[in-house]
Symmetry: C2
Subunit: 352 residues, 2 copies
DNA sequence: AATTCACGAGAAAACGTTTTCTGAAAGCAC
DNA sequence: GTGCTTTCAGAAAACGTTTTCTCGTGAATT
């Protein structure tokens, strides 16, 4: 400090507004303690909201203010041995369903003083495993996970021993909290809706990456059988080309379906593309229905005749996120409570 | 440890596969060191990839494997005084532009061993300030920020003294790295496109929350003036109702515009809604153009006549995220390099 | 052959907090 | 007034790493 020249007094050089604050390291709890004339422990207690002498508390708060002290969360987590971070691992951040859920999760978490690390796996089990491990290393309080299909094979608990809440997709064998859509029933509702609209030959494209696709397919087939419809269900991988190719065969063959069901919003777009490639219009030539009510769906398939439109099952996205977060936070308090499975109903948005 | 009964030998109780691993705390670097028969420092060095004896390295790696050791990132950050976390603070996670950028940021960051904390401000300056402060507390390595308009007023550096890269929106006074779209020019391109298509009375709706809206509006007005078009530009707040109301007046009055320009994807949806409320069709009654090429746009406004469609400026979302992340990581290495401003061109996607 | 140098491994300090421990003062019952 | 408990603040330990320091060994140089 002597090397700083004659222009700084000891006081200036040391504190506040002086050399150290401006140029060197961040201010720590000890600096606050020194300014307030108390011990570091007392500062910690004030900040934690524990009972301390009122005069001291005021001095500490003033010192925090004047020094611009910001606690180091890494140190806090290390010592206190618990973290305010929750991990949110989704399969596809571009899917509006997941962004909507993410937003809801973030809002609820922030309101309870938790921060969210959002991880995007792109349906890649390797990335998923990497992120689960990362959450472990981060010692995250818990994880909200939309698991990929491959994970089903693993019987081990994901993310070490920390609480996990599954969303959107189940892991059949696992004993974990989850909040899901009533996929099978909702798919059946969709089929019944198409039947009521007079369609008799239905085809469905279902995702191959998750239990969700399987369940929706099952509901589709069950309902179609019950109604005596001519039905054809196929599972398509997540890539674009696959869906288009699968549809090309379906649409050009004899006995072309008069209605299509999409397993999710992304799939529905693939179908739209394929239909256009075939020169077919919705709903003039063929009806289209699916899952996830995206904001733009009000505006496609509105033929000149005024009818048409794409009927979908709208998922309660906000509630899914809210419920999952609440369940996770609950479990942090009661680690040994029995696991809960929440199944939510969707809402049929009938168009056309 | 004696209380555990006679079934556990000292060895079992202590390590490995025994009591401690299964029921108590996580395994630490010292446990690994003990198993490998080396010092904790050596384990640390092996994990950091520093030069160590090959035999020792093998022993350490084996010990890490057998113990299932996962380093505690909080401790690592505390001691090493630098973090592998970058904050990404966006205005609206539901806006596909931001989700696309987020995905790109996350991918690049993950490839470089960094993790991303995604923060959603919902255009709320208070939330933005809260998150910037949080990133400070987290001692994040840096922040990528899409600033809200209000932040402009603040001359102070956001997020303490850590590196910040701005995306999508500038902060006029600030000397910060940023990567932006050439908004003014792109808006002009859009107007010229409409002019070439024969439209003569254009109106534009621009966001009031960011510099982006201002710039696009300026480009819109400049181009319209240069081309001698009858133009009307208005700034509308971010809420749904506003846009609809503003449009209602515009569309019902005399000299109704024959083309509309939307400042962004969200605005464009509002316009679509308003048009439908007025019973106007795109592009039959009125043309529509805007910013952000969302995947569904291929399918709306395709009238029976085959013409139509919504022309937009497609932003290079992937590159924006990639560039911003690269710039941020660069700056971590060269804190004192001059700030850079990257202005990217968009691409006109002409439809109809 | 002696001295320096480079290297690498263990011991110990340090990171910035929270928590435990300790002791003093205050309150209360006798 | 004495002895007991309670309260509260400071001192010190602890959290799990990385980094610095120290020292021993072997190679290289003179």
């Amino acid at each position: 400090m002597g090397g700083l020249g004659p222009f700084l007094t000891e006081e200036q050089a040391d504190w506040p507004g002086g050399w150290r604050e401006r140029f060197l390291m961040a201010v720590g709890i000890k600096d606050v303690a020194r300014v307030a004339g108390v011990s570091a422990a007392t500062v910690s207690r004030v900040l934690a909201g524990k009972a301390v002498d009122a005069a001291m508390q005021a001095r500490v708060l003033a010192a925090v203010e004047s020094t611009g002290y910001r606690p180091n969360l890494a140190a806090r987590r290390l010592r206190s041995r618990h973290s305010n971070v929750i991990g949110l691992i989704v399969a596809d951040i571009r899917n509006p369903f997941f962004t909507a859920v993410s937003r809801s999760v973030e809002t609820v978490a922030a309101a309870r003083g938790m921060q969210v690390i959002l991880c995007n796996t792109d349906e890649d089990p390797a990335k998923e495993a990497m992120y689960l491990d990362l959450m472990h290393q981060e010692r995250a309080a818990g994880v909200i996970l939309a698991p990929s299909r491959q994970r089903v094979a693993q019987t081990e608990r994901p993310a070490g021993e920390r609480p996990v809440v599954l969303i959107d997709r189940a892991i059949p064998g696992a004993d974990l909290d989850c909040v899901l859509l009533d996929n099978e029933r909702m798919a059946a509702v969709l089929v019944e809706h198409l039947h009521a609209r007079g369609h008799r030959r239905v085809a469905g494209l279902f995702g191959a990456m998750s239990t969700t696709g399987l369940e929706r397919r099952a509901g589709f087939e069950r309902a179609a059988a019950a109604l005596g419809l001519e039905a054809q269900a196929m599972a398509v991988p997540h890539s674009t080309g696959e869906a288009e190719r699968a549809l090309a065969g379906l649409l050009s063959g004899p006995g072309r379906p008069d209605a299509l069901v999409a397993s999710n919003g992304v799939m529905l777009l693939h179908i739209l593309r394929a239909l256009r490639a075939q020169g077919l219009s919705v709903p003039g030539d063929i009806a289209l229905a699916g899952f996830d009510n995206n904001d733009w769906m009000d505006f496609v398939g509105q033929g000149t005749c005024g009818a048409g439109g794409i009927s979908v099952i709208e998922q309660p996205v906000e509630e899914i996120g809210r419920t999952a977060t609440a369940m996770l936070l609950d479990r942090l308090d009661n680690p040994d409570a029995p696991t809960r499975k929440v199944v939510l109903a969707g809402k049929l948005v009938a168009r056309g």
